[in-house]
């Protein structure tokens, strides 16, 4: 695990209410370079609200979001996120979809496409540039969506249950692939899931979120290097982590 001392993403005491109801409160998390951190919590814990705050779509009632030390609270366009739905636009080619964040940022079309196209191979999408999303499998669509998120977010990926709509086999394949791709490119990931196995298998650290209102109740570190995660889910270690997490939830 390569982590530098300065976190790339920090939230400080985030609180967000809708009307009378406080959805998340006092959320402070850190994400270091190249780290994979998971937010684990039950549905309705406010994980998605937190993502909307981090991506700048919601203005929090309290707290700040810092991106490499810069305050980006309530300013969209810095960090994008990816949902369970791939949200690839059906009327744009895969390349046109992936290049979107660059085009929105004002990069001229041709240059944006070239820049996006150069990354296709690394993301296992070689040759898919001119296809339309409906012509790709679910797993491939998620890869394309991830590449788009990567281009939108300058090295940080916010993933909101990205693999939960995939079938078990594709999901396992995507997990392995994701760990590989993260080694290759500079990517720090903050990851939402309610799947305990997925959390242990992928994460360096896990934040546990309790609900009503959503707060961080615990934080655990998974002490197995990400390069050695193949077959990790069959070991006794894995079960210990699982037991621990179940007791904490």
């Amino acid at each position: 695990m390569i982590t530098s001392a300065e976190p790339v993403l920090v939230t400080e005491g985030i609180r967000k209410s809708f009307g009378e109801k406080t959805v998340i409160d006092n959320i402070s998390i850190r994400l270091y370079r190249n780290e994979l951190v998971c937010l684990l919590g039950q549905s309705g814990a406010g994980k998605t609200t937190l993502f909307n705050v981090i991506s700048g779509l919601y203005q929090p009632d309290a707290g700040r979001v810092l991106l490499s030390g810069e305050d980006v609270t309530g300013r969209p366009g810095q960090i994008s996120y990816m949902l369970q739905k791939d949200l690839l636009l059906p009327y744009r080619t895969v390349l046109g979809n992936v290049a979107l964040p660059l085009i929105i940022r004002g990069v001229p079309g041709k240059k944006a496409r070239a820049e996006a196209s150069a990354l296709f191979e690394k993301f296992g999408l070689a040759g898919c540039q001119k296809k339309y999303p409906a012509q790709l499998s679910g797993g491939m669509c998620q890869r394309a969506a991830l590449l788009r998120t990567y281009l939108a977010s300058r090295g940080i990926a916010l993933l909101d249950e990205p693999f939960s709509a995939l079938d078990a086999l594709t999901k396992a394949k995507m997990h392995r692939w994701y760990l590989d791709v993260m080694q290759e490119i500079e990517l720090s990931t903050l990851f939402i899931t309610h799947d305990i196995d997925e959390a242990i298998l992928l994460s360096d650290r896990i934040y546990i979120m309790g609900s009503k209102p959503g707060t961080i109740t615990d934080e655990i570190t998974v002490d197995v290097p990400r390069g050695e995660r193949t077959g990790f889910d069959l070991t006794e270690d894995f079960l210990h982590y699982k037991q621990l997490l179940v007791s904490l939830l």
Binding site: L89, L100, R105
Partner: protein, 261 residues
């Protein structure tokens, strides 16, 4: 490889029932004329109608030019107005609530009733015809565009906003392309309305056009010519609708590619 073939086969088999129905209707028509169940001056036979259609074709084409000019100009203005209205109504909720019922009401006014008023207001030249075409084509397009804008997944809009897109970008990148499908459905309806609208307003008064020609042959009790002009109008409307379909596949290549997956 099997799939496209079955698809092709299906598209052929799908066309068989309507062709048979049409053939049957023409056959019954032929029988009625052949057995002289109705006087031939009242109901010309299919053969006589076709002969007149061929003979009158140059005249029909000349009149069609006027009618189609009115239809196209009217349709163009209708599309433009519908586009502006739909964008504004989508952007400002108040406008949507204020205008939508009125749009619906304008559609309940019968075209035939409106045509004479427009002619009294605008004269006997092309203007009243174009105005009527605008009124009849505007609504289907505006409504289909509005529905298209509203069909966009709010998550898609939120995603683009998270990437820093402004309103104009969100519109151009998501809303407009997402509405294209329903826009073309509306346009298909409007294209046929446009021809019919132009013809109806020509009935009331004018110097040239298929509607004017229809009134003339009606007054002469030339039933064969009337039937011929009706067939001609059907053909023109169908051609226009075909044109819209061709345009649709050109503008929306993803539809075709996705279907042949």
């Amino acid at each position: 490889m099997c799939l496209p073939l079955t698809k092709k086969f299906q598209s052929i088999t799908n066309k068989i029932p309507p062709v048979i129905t049409l053939a049957l209707i023409v056959f019954v028509w032929y029988l009625i004329c052949d057995r002289q169940l109705v006087s031939p001056t009242m109901l010309p036979s299919p053969k006589a109608t076709l002969q007149v259609l061929v003979k009158d074709f140059p005249i029909l084409m000349r009149h069609a030019k006027t009618t189609l000019t009115e239809a196209f100009i009217g349709l163009g203005i209708g599309i433009g107005l519908a586009f502006v209205c739909a964008v504004l109504m989508d952007r400002f909720k108040v406008l949507y609530h204020a205008l939508y019922p009125i749009l619906v009401i304008t559609q309940t006014i019968p075209t035939v009733a409106l045509a004479p008023i427009l002619i009294l207001w605008l004269g006997y030249e092309m203007e009243p015809k174009i105005a009527l075409v605008v009124l009849t084509t505007f609504f289907p397009i505006a409504v289909s565009l509005l529905d298209g804008y509203r069909s966009v997944d709010p998550d898609e809009i939120r995603l683009l906003r998270s990437m820093g897109a402004n309103r104009v970008q969100t519109f151009l990148l998501i809303k407009f392309p997402a509405a294209l499908g329903s826009f073309f459905s509306g346009l298909k309806i409007s294209a046929s309305y446009a021809v019919v609208g132009a013809v109806i307003s020509e009935w009331i008064g004018g110097f040239e056009g298929l509607g004017v020609y229809m009134t003339r042959v009606r007054k002469a009790y030339a039933f064969d010519k009337m039937f011929a002009v009706i067939l001609f109008i059907i053909a023109v409307s169908l051609l226009l609708m075909l044109l819209v379909t061709v345009l649709r596949t050109l503008v929306m290549p993803w539809e075709r590619k996705t279907k042949t997956k």
